[in-house]
């Protein structure tokens, strides 16, 4: 779908700006089918790393997730990298912390699987690394671009280029690697070279259009870059613009996909600013405290997105932002159970950190930094 066409579609159902208010929460029609499982970690285990049955483990903090095609899931957590095998046993595979600095604020897209070469890539100190699974079961990290301990933004051949802080890694089917670098630049690794797509990620202001003129307003802390509906699409959580931004690599243009930048007036629609409101993506939907994360769901062709202070999980689908998980979130929901109705889940300061090939969303949250949950539609996935 061409970029302009998508924007037109998103705007098609828009009520008038002076229309009466609409509900803050618009529940997705599929929400009742969704359930949430404790996937890894346990809320009673404590902060010390415990391996074993994934739902009995401890010490995972607020992790990320990287589902692999063979059913295993890699989990970067503060202090190391773990793997949950197909039998559901969690084992440590590397002791290196893959969530440096501000990456821990969101933990989405901190590592990525390359469908082209079947390898996993992750960030390192001022470098990009490839993970190699050793025969003994541990994973080894190998630098492929940049120089550890030598920060910078220099483009060039992979080894000569410099990186500052790898906040997000996105890999498309062509094997191109896209890096959100220190929340300052979006960079591409392709054909043995590093190039900068935009250096206006932190520039301030919201300008759509050609990428070399577009402006974004990310903050220093948190936020991420994710893939999109095709190999030429990226999404960026444009924090202080309170918007999810879409980057069309074919057209080398940026647009706005969802969210409500700070409005000038006080109409009923404008009062929804900064309030986690569902609704038409570009007019009535809003994020609270900015747009903190984006995560593309290729199965449902939807963009999970949310603000930093939300306790629901919402997606942008069909031009509208709707709540899928947590519509009736309760504090006392069974955090370590299986098959919990999605509507009762309550995770605050949350994010969908990955979606696997079966459309299962991996959830983490700072309010319950005890591991991962996995949400799925019972209609679509057999547990």
């Amino acid at each position: 779908m061409a970029f302009e066409s998508l924007i037109a579609l998103l705007c098609a159902a828009e009520p008038g700006a002076d229309a009466p208010d609409m509900p803050q929460i618009i529940v997705d029609p599929s929400a009742g089918d969704w359930v949430v499982d404790r996937f890894a970690g346990n809320s009673t285990a404590g902060p010390t790393l415990i391996q074993g049955p994934a739902r009995e483990t401890g010490g995972l903090g607020r992790p990320g997730a990287c589902p692999l095609p063979d059913g295993r899931v890699l989990i970067p957590f503060p202090g190391g990298l773990a793997e949950v095998d197909r039998e559901g046993t969690l084992r440590l595979v590397a002791e290196e912390d893959l969530l440096p600095g501000t990456t821990q604020q969101v933990t989405a897209n901190v590592m990525a699987y390359s469908p082209k070469d079947g390898r996993v890539y992750a960030g390192g100190p001022a470098c990009v690394r490839r993970l190699i699974e050793r025969p003994d079961g541990a994973w080894q990290l190998e630098v492929i671009a940049g120089t550890p301990g030598k920060p910078g933004f220099a483009d060039g051949p992979l080894r000569e280029a410099t990186f500052t802080r790898i906040d997000s890694i996105v890999i498309n089917r062509r094997g191109e690697i896209f890096i959100l670098d220190a929340n300052r630049r979006i960079r591409r690794l392709a054909d043995g070279r590093v190039t900068t797509l935009t250096s206006a990620v932190h520039a301030g202001g919201l300008v759509d259009g050609p990428l070399d003129e577009a402006r974004f307003h990310m903050i220093d802390l948190g936020g991420n870059l994710c893939g999109g509906e095709d190999d030429d699409t990226l999404y960026l959580s444009d924090h202080w613009n309170f918007a999810a931004r879409r980057i069309d690599l074919a057209a080398m243009a940026a647009g706005t996909a969802a969210g409500m930048p700070k409005p000038a007036g006080q109409t009923a629609r404008e009062r929804r600013y900064n309030k986690n409101c569902d609704g038409p993506a570009l007019t009535w939907a809003s994020f609270n405290s900015g747009c903190a994360y984006v995560c593309w769901d290729a199965v449902h062709e939807a963009l999970w997105c949310g603000g930093p202070d939300e306790n629901r999980f919402r997606w942008l689908e069909g031009g509208e932002v709707r709540t899928v998980i947590g519509a009736k979130g309760a504090d006392a929901w069974p955090r370590d159970g299986l098959g919990t109705p999605a509507e009762v889940v309550r995770l605050t300061w949350n994010a969908v950190v990955a979606v696997d090939a079966r459309g299962r969303a991996y959830l983490s949250a700072s309010s319950d930094p005890t591991g991962l949950w996995r949400a799925y539609s019972r209609k679509e996935v057999t547990p």
Binding site: G52, G101, L221, P334
Partner: protein, 1007 residues
């Protein structure tokens, strides 16, 4: 360190802990394994260190290995031993304890590849594994993890967390393991996650916590020997992100919890970082509350905080993560992780070091922390074990450059004398020509009166030691020492004169020979009449009047000294001529006139006793009373000092902070020929005069024998925790502690006669055993000046615990520079908070030297009440009123006589009376008196001492008229042998067998 200007006297607490050389634990044969998560225990004269070795993740085969270390920190095993060989799997998280003659090592074992079990094995003192098949402590089908173990010396108690059945929540369990390796039935403790256990010498305490992230808490509960919880868990630490904590036994049958507080947050959430210490009392409850409740928006370090991280900037550090603690026989030693900050927001933790501190109660004795392992490598996961004699083995992880960590160790110990030099240079004139001074001309002079008169008898107090104080008509001399390093001065002369009478000089020849110290004495010039302050000038001149050196000595000239009664209390205004040193908030110093420092209506009180002792209640000491010694020092027994109140305070909460006397008052209750009673009432306040509603009254009662009582009655909120006793020696301005304090500062004499002489500087490694209690009360003799034969005496028959805290010396540049704690914030000085160094303020204000303290160890009170009453802020409140009594005095008596005093005070004699009846409350220890109601003109009192009865005191109500006659054992006593004031009778007699006292009141014929 030479010369008087000791500006280099700075922070010296690094001397509090001596850090040994790094010791590497032997890796496995391949030398490639990763060493991590060490633990250690001491027993039977050796340390056993255990750790995980090898990769413990997927595909790994980590094993628990062990090696022994000698008490002095030497590796005893060249090869470490594998405790539980297994064909596959991972063994992790070892813990170890010593009991029943062997070590028990516990760990979590993943050998089945599905879930963890808790296994254990015993190891002999020789390092041999006794259990070839590990002991299965908990081997259920689901995860059983994070074990800990402690021992009561005979058997072991293991705690862990585990899952059972289909449950999703961990539970806490405990099981006893006998010395023979038999495992008891698992008992649910409720203590999870991360259970820890420690034995305090009397019982087990378990702690757990860490389930919450934003509001994680740590709770504690006592466990029986088989692991059954003894009550409900008690909250000890609140508000800890991802609670990671350590637990160990501590002094006085307590425990110590240590835990971090908060990470540096880029948004500023969570407040400062801290390493917090919480003392758990013998009753299993937290002693300090600052782990539970903090002042809103706290930014400053609280008393229980061992470390602070606040500024997020380059070079800043932040305490976070693992800690360990152990009791070394004198103090708790705590080691924790301190990180350096890095990253864009200065919130990344890098370059982790390990910092150590000694902890008294819950307060750090090393406030800056002592770097115990602080190399460029990452040093983490400390574990401690102590021999209980001042030496503690620290083991920890150390990151290697190849990504493979190692386990290393270091001994932490009290500095030992051979390695710590005492800074005890010549004082006074002996300094001239001493040391590294190389001035061309160097000299000094000291003026002395012809005899020492008690300064208080001259109406003064704590006169600066380099001043001259002279009574009217008193003469004296000046001693001069000089050295000339450039040549001979054969014609030189020393001269002296008072500024107000410059024409009346005295002089003496001082023939100086190059590079030789020459001394001379010259008489004091006549003190000028009509002035009470002057300046004595001393000069050295060459022939022809060319002045080479000159000094001014302030002089206090006493024209009309006060006339104290031989026995009595007097309101007065003690004279102090030097200005009061004042420190402003910005750190600058100024001064305040002593004469304008308080409300002019406030007076001092001096108690004069026939033996020459003087007990003073001085405004300059915030009315904290003390024995003022003949040699210009003093001794205080302290006051009621409280724990941190829940809503925050500045510095300490104690009456010495009441510099302006907003709360403290002193009043003479009685001053008769037989008895003196003076009351000091106060509220403990903080540095900013904040009070919380508690109050204290201390009544001091004295008799003509020079002995009396200190009676402290404290009204406080329930649960308040107070310190009551400490020996504190006051020294005047310009006095280096080593110049006046003798090394044998304290004698401890138990009632059974055993004597322990405590010398200073106190080093636990040398004398730690001397401070172990014996469940027998002891009388204390505290010397307050090297030349004073009289010492202060202190005794409480209900106190069977020796002071848990002996203050170690300060050190600087590798030299010990004080015999014990030194502080310039009291007496007199204002605006300065409690310090931990000795500095140039020694020259500007009187100071104090804390010798030993009972800290929060309080004897049983003689009275306790719980009242619904008003606090000092006028609020209706439930309050607890408690009264304690100590025998006090100053005396040069020998040990035997002091024991008589103590035994007499400890047990009243049996009494039978005729001509009177015993009062309902017959014996009042507060006044060491027996109370009678007189019913006739002749009273006969038969006394039968249980041990000895020294100088009995009788309070006689309704006594008829004059006491005409006092007989003891049929012998009429002279008037000098007793004192009577119409109600109180004091008799100067030591009774060791049944004796009869006969009193005849007026009307009966004198014979």
């Amino acid at each position: 360190m030479s010369g008087l200007a000791c500006s280099v006297l700075s922070l010296l607490l690094a001397g509090g802990i001596e850090i040994g050389e790094e010791l590497s634990l032997p890796a496995d044969a391949s030398g490639t394994g990763i060493q991590a998560t060490p633990a250690a225990a001491f027993g039977g004269g050796v340390y056993l260190v255990v750790w995980r070795e090898g990769w413990h993740g997927k595909g790994g085969s980590a094993r628990i290995r062990a090696a022994r270390v000698s008490p002095d920190g030497k590796l005893l095993d060249r090869q470490s031993s594998e405790i539980a060989p297994a064909p596959a799997g991972v063994q992790e998280r070892p813990r170890v304890a010593f009991g029943g003659g062997a070590f028990l090592v516990v760990w979590q074992d993943f050998r089945n590849g599905k879930d963890y079990d808790i296994l254990a094995a015993r190891i002999t003192l020789e390092g041999r594994v006794l259990d070839r098949e590990p002991i299965a402590v908990a081997a259920g089908p689901r995860n059983q993890v994070l074990p800990d173990v402690a021992s009561d010396g005979k058997s072991f108690l293991v705690v862990w967390q585990g899952l059972a059945g289909d449950e999703t929540a961990y539970r806490g369990f405990a099981a006893a393991v006998s010395a023979g390796g038999k495992t008891g039935r698992p008992i649910e403790t409720g203590m999870t996650p991360q259970p820890r256990v420690a034995w305090n010498g009397a019982r087990y305490l378990a702690a757990s916590g860490g389930a919450g992230f934003w509001s994680g808490s740590v709770q504690v509960v006592a466990l029986s020997a088989d692991g059954a919880p003894q009550g409900k868990p008690v909250l000890a630490i609140r508000g800890t992100k991802a609670a990671v904590f350590s637990l160990s036994a501590a002094a006085d049958n307590g425990w110590l919890l240590a835990s971090h507080r908060s990470l540096p947050d880029p948004w500023g959430w969570g407040g400062p970082g801290a390493m917090r210490a919480v003392r758990i009392g013998e009753d299993g409850k937290p002693v300090n509350q600052d782990g539970i409740k903090e002042p809103a928006g706290v930014q400053d370090r609280l008393p229980g905080w061992l470390d602070l991280g606040r500024k997020k900037e380059a070079g800043a550090t932040w305490p976070w993560g693992e800690s360990a603690s152990a009791f070394d026989g004198t103090h708790s030693v705590v080691v924790w992780q301190r990180h350096h900050l890095s990253g864009e927001k200065m919130t990344d933790l890098v370059d982790c070091d390990l910092i150590a501190a000694r902890v008294d109660g819950f307060t750090s004795l090393d406030p800056a922390g002592v770097p115990a392992a602080a190399t460029q490598a990452e040093e983490r996961h400390p574990a401690l074990a102590s021999d209980g004699r001042g030496r503690t083995l620290l083991v920890h992880e150390k990151g290697g450059t190849n990504g493979r960590g190692a386990v290393v160790g270091r001994m932490l110990s009290q500095p030992l004398p051979p390695r710590a030099t005492l800074w005890r240079p010549p004082f006074g004139l002996d300094r001239v020509g001493h040391g590294a001074e190389s001035a061309a001309f160097e000299a000094d002079a000291i003026a002395r009166p012809d005899r020492i008169i008690h300064p208080v008898d001259l109406g003064t107090i704590l006169v600066p030691s380099d001043w001259l104080i002279l009574a009217d008509g008193q003469g004296g001399e000046i001693e001069v020492a000089a050295i000339c390093r450039t040549g001979d001065l054969p014609e030189a002369r020393a001269a002296a004169w008072f500024a107000s009478a410059a024409e009346e000089k005295t002089a003496v020849a001082l023939a100086l020979v190059r590079d030789r110290v020459v001394r001379a004495r010259l008489p004091l010039p006549p003190a000028p009449a009509g002035v009470d302050r002057d300046v004595l000038h001393v000069s050295i001149d060459r022939a022809g009047g060319d002045r080479r050196w000159h000094k001014e000595i302030p002089a206090m000239l006493i024209r009309r000294p006060p006339q104290w009664p031989a026995f009595g209390a007097t309101e007065t205004t003690l004279r102090y001529d030097a200005p009061i040193s004042v420190r402003a908030d910005d750190g600058t110093f100024s001064s305040l006139s002593y004469d304008e420092a308080w409300d002019p209506g406030l007076r001092d009180v001096v108690v004069a006793l026939p033996n020459g002792s003087r007990f003073v209640f001085w405004r300059g000491s915030s009315y904290v009373p003390f024995w003022a010694g003949r040699f210009n020092t003093g001794l205080s027994y302290e006051w009621a000092e409280t724990s941190p109140p829940p809503d925050g305070f500045t510095d300490c909460v104690e009456p010495l902070m009441d510099k302006e006397l907003r709360y403290g008052r002193v009043r003479i209750l009685e001053s008769t020929p037989a008895r003196i009673r003076v009351r000091w009432s106060y509220q403990s306040c903080d540095f900013k005069y904040k009070v919380w509603g508690d109050s204290a009254v201390e009544d001091y009662t004295f008799y003509p024998d020079g002995f009396g009582t200190r009676v402290l009655t404290l009204q406080s909120a329930p649960g308040a925790d107070y310190e009551l006793s400490e020996f504190i020696i006051l020294t005047p301005q310009s006095t280096y502690p080593f110049s006046v304090l003798p090394p044998d500062l304290v004698d401890i004499i138990f009632l059974d006669g055993e004597k322990r002489e405590i010398s200073f500087p106190f080093l636990a490694a040398e004398q730690g055993d001397k401070m172990k209690s014996r469940d027998i009360p002891a009388i204390y003799r505290v010397r307050m000046h090297k030349d004073d034969p009289a010492a202060a005496i202190y005794f409480n028959p209900l106190d069977t615990r020796l002071p848990p805290t002996v203050f170690g010396p300060f050190a600087d540049e590798g030299e010990i520079v004080t015999p014990c704690y030194w502080g310039s914030h009291w007496p007199l000085a204002r605006g300065k908070t409690t310090g931990s160094t000795i500095d140039d303020r020694v020259r500007f204000t009187p100071c104090h030297n804390s010798v030993m303290s009972w800290a929060r160890s309080r004897p049983a009170p003689v009275r306790t009440a719980r009242l619904e009453t008003l606090d000092t802020l006028g609020r209706p409140k439930t309050m607890v009123v408690e009264t304690w009594v100590w025998l006090i005095g100053t005396s040069a008596a020998d040990d035997a006589r002091l024991l008589e005093w103590a035994r007499s005070f400890a047990s009243a004699p049996a009494v039978e009376v005729r001509g009177a009846r015993l009062e309902a409350e017959t014996c009042v220890p507060e006044r060491r008196a027996i109370r009678l109601v007189v019913e006739g003109p002749v009273v006969i009192i038969d006394l039968e001492p249980r041990a000895v009865c020294v100088n009995p005191v009788f309070e006689l109500d309704a006594a008829p008229g004059t006491l005409a006659r006092v007989e003891l054992g049929g012998r009429r006593l002279d008037a000098k042998d007793y004192a009577w004031d119409g109600r109180t009778l004091w008799i100067d007699a030591t009774l060791k067998e049944a004796s009869q006292v006969r009193l005849v009141f007026s009307g009966e014929t004198r014979s």
